[in-house]
């Protein structure tokens, strides 16, 4: 009993820990709901694009489908292959989901609405997204299966290649904004030109390369050779079932939302309104606000689904060619161009 009272008093004096925990729940719980309904949106949208209806049985218009999927996966048997490395096999899905959630710690949802206002926020995000590859590699190795291992090898080579292009695209943003702080980066895009003041215009090649590299980093179509169901069945997660598979699934979609949100933040002005500030300042819903960030994130997320419904899978050697021989040279040249624009205070940077 005494220890409980001591704990209570300790909490009273250290309420900041409790506050942070509550804030984490406030960020992660809606995110998980978004992940669930992102899968539903994907199935519905791709369904319509292919002139099908998509899930429509569970609940009105199929709205309860993600819940039904979650319940189903929860009660499925967890099959662990013989001679698999049990610990690593079960840790791998967590290593995919963990970084995808941890990256939100420095994400500014609106002016000042951020859990940890880190000076080096951009670096932190880059570091965490690069750690995500371990889940795939470890899953492929620990499964003790040749298809899983092939998927892991493909994924490792691909992610290392595209991470460099992604990093260089972020260097361009850093040069343009003059700060590594994500909030500062959004504020640097604020001008009286509205949508034309955002970084997507002066950094247009970097914007495209960042987003495409993001698609490659999350192993989504048309870069989903790590899964490649027609060649290596399902790649790195072929041996997974039940909850561990569900965690992989959550990680993949959480990563997609993260990349979409980062694209919105770094290139599409985050919470800024697309209309010039002098027109709409303080006007309800038209002025700056968190709803713009959500809209932009949804816009970028839509492209992930659209790509999947549209493009066939890349051939592996062409993925490597695109990453190393096309994206990296373009980003290096454009960093130079951005540097010159900033030094000579060209249009956006005056």
């Amino acid at each position: 009993m005494d220890s409980l009272i001591a704990l209570w008093e300790w909490l009273g004096t250290n309420l900041i820990v409790l506050q942070i925990l509550i804030k984490i729940v406030v960020i992660v719980a809606p995110l998980m709901l978004c992940v669930a309904y992102f899968t539903y949106a994907e199935r519905k949208l791709i369904g319509y694009m292919q002139v099908r209806i998509g899930p429509n049985r569970v609940g009105p218009k199929g709205w309860l489908q993600p819940i039904a999927d979650a319940v189903k996966l929860m009660f499925k048997e967890i099959v662990i292959p013989t001679k698999a490395n049990k610990t690593l096999f079960l840790i791998a899905p967590l290593l995919t989901l963990g970084p995808a959630l941890a990256a939100w710690a420095v994400f500014p949802f609106s002016d000042g609405l951020v859990l940890a206002d880190l000076n080096a926020g951009l670096l932190y995000i880059l570091a965490l997204t690069s750690v995500g590859v371990y889940g795939v590699i470890i899953a492929g190795w620990a499964s003790n299966s040749k298809y899983a291992f092939l998927g892991a090898m493909r994924s490792a080579a691909q992610i290392v290649a595209y991470e460099i292009a992604m990093g260089f695209a972020l260097v361009g943003v850093l040069v343009a904004a003059g700060s590594l702080n994500l909030g500062e980066i959004v504020r640097a895009q604020q001008s009286d030109a509205g949508i034309f003041g955002w970084f997507w215009l002066p950094l247009f090649p970097l914007f495209l390369i960042y987003f495409i590299s993001g698609v490659a980093e999350t192993n989504r179509a048309p870069f989903d050779v790590a899964e490649g169901e027609s060649e290596i069945v399902a790649g790195f997660h072929v041996e997974y079932s039940g909850m561990p598979f569900a965690v992989f699934f959550l990680g993949e979609y959480a990563n997609m939302i993260l990349i979409s949100a980062l694209t919105a933040l770094l290139f599409m002005g985050g919470w800024l309104s697309p209309l010039p500030a002098s027109w709409v300042d303080g006007v309800f819903l038209l002025g700056d606000g968190i709803h713009w960030l959500f809209l932009k994130t949804a816009f970028a997320g839509f492209f992930f689904l659209w790509f999947r419904a549209t493009f066939p899978r890349y051939r592996y050697d062409q993925i490597m060619r695109l990453g190393w021989k096309v994206f990296i040279p373009i980003t290096i040249v454009w960093i130079l161009v951005v540097g010159l624009m900033v030094v000579y205070k060209f249009a956006w940077f005056s």
Binding site: L88, L123, A127, S130, V160, E163, D317, Q318
Partner: protein, 199 residues
Amino acid sequence: MTFEKFVFYLFAAILVFAATMVITRRNPVHSALFLVLAFFSSAGIWLLAEAEFLAIVLILVYVGAVMVLFLFVVMMLDIDLATLRAGFIKYMPVGLLVALVMAIEMFMVVGPSNFGLDKVPAPAAQGPSYNNTEELGNVLYTVYMYPFEIAAVILLVGIIAAIGLTMRKRPETKFQDPSVQVKVKKADRLRVVKMDAED
């Protein structure tokens, strides 16, 4: 014990544990993964020392890139542990000697004679607005300009040498040039031949 101290000892304990596991595990993949854990814990300790830029870059470069390639190679190797262990007893005295010399050297450099709060005063804690990254950049590109550029050139030489080593002509590979593939016209590949109907 303050909270910082507790975190320091926690990370230090994990670091020592992980480093020990790196050299004692039989499976090289496990060793590589424990090395990743060691990098993470040292990044945590650097964060405590207010070196957030170095801590994040350690994760970004070593965990995010170097160790991925390391694992990539280690996973594909078929290491025969029996031959690796064959000469263990024979080489042990030499190994112990080298280890001893290294330990003595390290003791001379970071031992109590020139390390400690009386020799090097603790740096003052900086405020939350202090930007480690910016300070490092300012120093690197002004005071240490030449060493920095020389390091960059050495790295470039390393890159070119590594690529040069793998450059060899292999006539049997069927390399395709996508730009040529895209430019193909119907007339290049297809020829319609008029043929009389056979009777």
